[in-house]
Amino acid sequence: MTEKISPIRFFEIFKLTVVFLAVQMGATLVMPVWFYDIIRPYFLFFTVTTSVLLAYFVYIRTRHLELSYDGTGFTLKRGKTVETRRWKEFHKVLLVRTNGDFLIRLQDEEHVDLPVSKLKLDPFSFRMKTLGFVEGSGSGINRG
């Protein structure tokens, strides 16, 4: 049975919103005065609304993560980028910490990182689950 995890990271949307808000505030400095006079009564509403919408759009297009997995493999979508791999392609499972975030690193000659903290999964239990999948896939896990 396939499990699917795709939490919305509101803090990411908030960060993008702040960036777009700052850009729009800055844009008023180069805006024609007559145009600014027209939009001034609605400026705050307009900037906040457009910033939130733009942030959500950019987040979904580039940063949203979706992980679906079952006993044979997983699919990781990062924005519009999709990566599908099988557990048996890997021989080593590492739990890695980078600046407060935990990743499950699946290693072969190359490695694939599953960003478990960003997916709001418990890194320790998901590591055991992943290890079970990799060992169970008959990849001849080499833990060395």
Partner: protein
């Protein structure tokens, strides 16, 4: 890898059932002596701390009676070989048991020859026997067991 504590090294990688030669360790931790952290911590660690790669091998053993000089020698030799291959400067061997080690075993660990830190932790009595070298003492001082 989680929560704070006194600092021995920044462990960033953990692997379960780590195989080293013909032995399997329950956990292998890898990291370095440089902390990450925010801007000032990074600057401080860059200028003050050495950039050593470190490893800690953790293994459960059924009883402390299995520990002998050959037992330790075999493990430490493999750890040294790996350290040489991967330029790991600091290495620890951490053994976990359920029974009280005999005086002979305690002495063997305390007298541990070589640079590797060797520690034996009794889960039941929460006592720790450690090698009296720099790394053994350092880990003992930092652990909150």
């Amino acid at each position: 890898m989680v929560k704070g504590g006194r600092w021995v090294a920044e462990f960033t990688e953990s692997e379960r059932n780590h195989k080293l030669g013909d032995l399997t360790f329950d956990v292998c931790l890898r990291g370095s002596t440089r902390t990450k952290g925010l801007f000032l911590s990074r600057i401080l660690s860059y200028f003050v701390l050495p950039n050593y790669q470190v490893a800690c091998y953790i293994a459960r053993i059924p009883s402390s009676n299995v520990i002998s000089s050959d037992f330790l020698k075999k493990r430490l030799t493999l750890i040294r070989e790996r350290a040489k291959e991967e330029e790991l400067k600091w290495n620890w061997l951490f053994l976990v048991t359920e029974d009280e080690p005999s005086a002979k075993v305690s002495k063997l660990i305390e007298e541990g020859r070589g640079d590797e830190g060797v520690l034996l932790y009794n889960r039941r009595s929460r006592s720790l026997v450690y090698s009296r070298n720099l790394l053994g003492k350092r880990m003992k001082a930092c652990l909150k067991l």
